[in-house]
Symmetry: C2
Subunit: 206 residues, 2 copies
Amino acid sequence: MVAGPGLLFVVSGPSGAGKDTLVEALRERLPRLRYSVSATTRQPRENEREGEHYFFLSRAEFERRMRDGELLERREYNGNLYGTPRGYVVQSLAEGYDVIMKPEVNGALAVKAAYPDAVLIFLVPDRFTHLRERLLARRTETNEEIARRLEIAHQEMKFIRSFDYIVVNEQGNPEQAVRDLQAILQAERFRIHRYPDDSIRRVESS
Amino acid sequence: MVAGPGLLFVVSGPSGAGKDTLVEALRERLPRLRYSVSATTRQPRENEREGEHYFFLSRAEFERRMRDGELLERREYNGNLYGTPRGYVVQSLAEGYDVIMKPEVNGALAVKAAYPDAVLIFLVPDRFTHLRERLLARRTETNEEIARRLEIAHQEMKFIRSFDYIVVNEQGNPEQAVRDLQAILQAERFRIHRYPDDSIRRVESS
């Protein structure tokens, strides 16, 4: 998959982290941010609308799209298939839009494997402690301690190194988490590693 | 040098990029940001004050401090020595303050070599083009083209890969560059790679 000028952001994390609310708030503020709707073979829940929450597909249709290269990645979760429609993401990035999605943790890893340029953000809830302040103030805390405070499951903690950022959603203060996410989306545009390696090498060896 | 909870930011780039103004604006807005004053053996210019612009040292005193480990790094520029006093940086980071400095390009690289955790920001002036917009919109541009637009000298371009970010200071719109810098300072707090490697490995292997 060829990198477009837009950036792909993947927000994931333990359930109850508040992904839906925060991503919705980001979309309202950032007109150049598009949302990638996942495809799934699971049954729609009440109030879930086709094309808004998911593209609901039969297993046969899902497999056909995967075979025909129409999905960026696929993974199984709770006995159902989930995947990212390729066309919308590729076209949006090519047009210079940023794209955001919010799969579960193994989905985030699958997206990163298919598109290493993706920026992965691990979002965690904070119901009990002043966690964000603590993370800011005390980088010496071990990751085990962080995991305990963050209520991150052991299994998810294993994968956390594949993520690029960790953002804390403090109960009662989603505005702060939205601003942290906005700072990340803005700052990532200016990261030098995004400029093509080969052209830099050419300059260096000349 | 042991990493403290604070982060070290190094703003550098070609002359005329507007480092002084932007760093000053950042310091006014961010009370937890401290400025590291360099030591130098060059003569003070008019209006330069000891301890504010530089610590002006004799060559003998500079060399003694380097020998005694009181400088984080040293480098020669235009026949004069420049260096970063270690104590102020180490103590500020340990107390949770972020620290910013604005050495010339080879100084930024020397700081990175001495303190790899430093975040290096390459600041470039933009007098003629709508460069920031172009960088945001067109990541496919080659680095040679970017260098031409950015008026980056060939020598400096060689080193650009050691930097983490590139920020454009558009003429007449310093506010935008300040906001870009602020986003970077904020976002960097949440980067997962800042959490101790060994504690993560321990979790992974358990």
